[in-house]
Amino acid sequence: MRVTNGTLTGNYLRNLNRNLDQMQKTQNQLSSGKEVSRPSDNPMLVSKIMDFNSTISENEQYRLTIDSAMEWVDTADGALGNVTDTLQRVRELVVSGANGTLSETERTAIADEIRELSKQVSDSLNTNFGGRYIFAGQKTTEPPFSVGADGVMTYSGDEGNISREIAPNVGLAIMTNGLELTTAEGTAAGNQSLGALLDNIAEALESGDTEAISGNLLGDLDKHMDNVTRFRSKMGAIYNRLEAAGERNEAQNLNLTEMLSKSEDIDFAEKMMEYSTMSAIYEASLSSGAKILQKSLLDYL
């Protein structure tokens, strides 16, 4: 084959450009740290990366939901702890009030303290989390418990619970129904709600009805305390579920991030090797070009 100057320069330029082009691609990958920068680099991989990114973003959103639900349940647990403590104090007072030897003044003092404690229970149950009342059913914008002029604590929330979605199509109800919390079953009539019971105890103390105090009222108080404890342990179970969901979410996130990284990120060492090979080739072609292209017969005549 006849070789001309045009053949030499043409081939040289073509090969040099190809080397430079490949070097530019590797350089781009090295500086961005990503395997692909545009869909045509690898359409299927890009589609996979987009799916991963979307799933990860969704997963992180679930994580936020779980975290905020856990804080909510934490707050609720604290409030329930306060209520239990207060009721414990009420029980101590009731037991001491049942003692028939107390004077009327002493009983009245105990009754007054119980009325105050009733307000304290109401305050504890009106705890809010981020401006939302946590024992108001779904009416979280209004304080659900109030102690009226008659001294009876009443509930004005509704009977709903709040639900959260903690993973795709996995719902979880956070118990916020204040009515359930303050209603005990199997009590003597008139003592079904905690507010009414506390009021009845105070009235019984004021009237000196020690028989009722040591009988029905003390038993009913125990039932109410049981009820609160049961409610609290249910919240505990919800907390455990959230914790487990959180761990699962984190594991999944880790997996997804790892898979994304595997498809998206470059192997730095490998790319670096590729790059140095390419730049060596590029330099070689430059210097060989400088040697090939200068010479012609004219140099020797």
Binding site: V3, T4, P39, S40, D51, S57, E60, Q138, I162, L297
Partner: protein, 489 residues
Amino acid sequence: MAGLFNTLNTAVKGLSAQQTALSTTSHNISNANTEGFSRQRVELKADNSYDYQGVGQLGTGVKIESVVRIVDEFVDYQIRNESSALGQYTAKNDVLSQLESIFNEPSETGVSYAMGEMFNAWQTLSDNPESMSAKSVVVESAKTFVDTLGQTASQMDELKVDTIAALEKNVFDINSIADQLKTLNDQIFNISVKGQSPNDLLDQRDLLMKQLNGLADCTESIDKWGRASMTLGGKDITAQDAAFKLSTVSGKADNGDGTWTVSVAVGGDSSDLKQVTMTAGEAASFSDGSPVYYEEGAPLAPAGIASGEIGGKLEALKEIEARIAELDSFARSLADEVNKLHNPDGDGADFFSYEGTESALNLRVNPDIQEDESLVVTGYSESSPATDGSRALEIAKLRDKNIGGSTLQSDYSGIVTKVGISAQKAANMVSNQEAVMAQLTNRRESISGVSIDEEVTNMIQFQRSFEANSRVISTLSEMLDTLINRTGV
């Protein structure tokens, strides 16, 4: 006996032959880097001998037969042929790589990311339905999504307009090259009829034919005088005084009475617009940018270009239009699904609004909602308590919901993947075609290219030959001097 003056004549012929050959060598060297140039050679031949009685045939020196260009017609033909395919894929690749830059994926600024953020905002709202700021975040993130989508759509529209303008320019170029070829054909004919070979004009002719083929897939034929005629879509665009002109469609409009008016940029010149009226059925085969043959008084005929830069741009244009349609349908189904959940009975406020068929471009967050964010519905019904975020949750779950066989996310990534695949394919075809072209160009270079080494060698050869002929003349002169001045004195 051969006379001395005869021999002098032979030497002069030799001198002039070497001089002519040297002149051609010089022509070759000076055109070593000229595009499309084929090296030339002086064909020398021994001149007619005469009968030297009793001795035999006596030669009379050299004769210049002709100056020829050295080409392999078949390789040149192949190059012209392949340049159509190269032009096609290069143009397609150019447009499609712009298209994929518009999508800007994978990134944290593209439509996909903005859509994810919007659904995340809905989910946050479902957890905090009574929070006004969560509603604001939903509205703002939806606005970001709509803006990103709208920008993508409008950039695609711009790319379409730019591609149509580039098509017009290509058609304009074809007409101007065809005009040059017509003039060249005349010049070639004038020289060919004299029995000479118009080497340099033929090189120019081949170059113009190659340029034409790069723009559109012409069928060529060359007559015995070396005149080229290029046929495109069944019409000879190099015909002298042709009434038709290759043009582009620059728009069409429905007249409302069953007829359509199609505007044509005659010769690809958008300042020379002509209107053609036709039936709706006929108009359906024309779209913006499509190349047509325009002839006064005759019906508009599609030029039927499949390859070359024009063919590639037409393919890319179809691709852009298909992707715009898919993006529109994606925007429509997203907006419809969200609205269906946000305003199920149709008596409340829609969340999204869009007009016409260009739904990606015209998608908006309902202006009423933009003004009053409390219109964002979160609960199941109007009587639902403030904490009911079930509707917002349903909207957030649209992200993974199967709508007509696929999710919104996969609808969108499907569009991006399609763009990626066709851009990748076009880029691969370009590099394949470039390899074919490189191989053919090397082949042509090897046959027709100028080799400086070779020309310099020839130059020395001709120079020496010239010197030798001069020596013959001076020897003859000495002989004549001996004969005339010294003999018998």
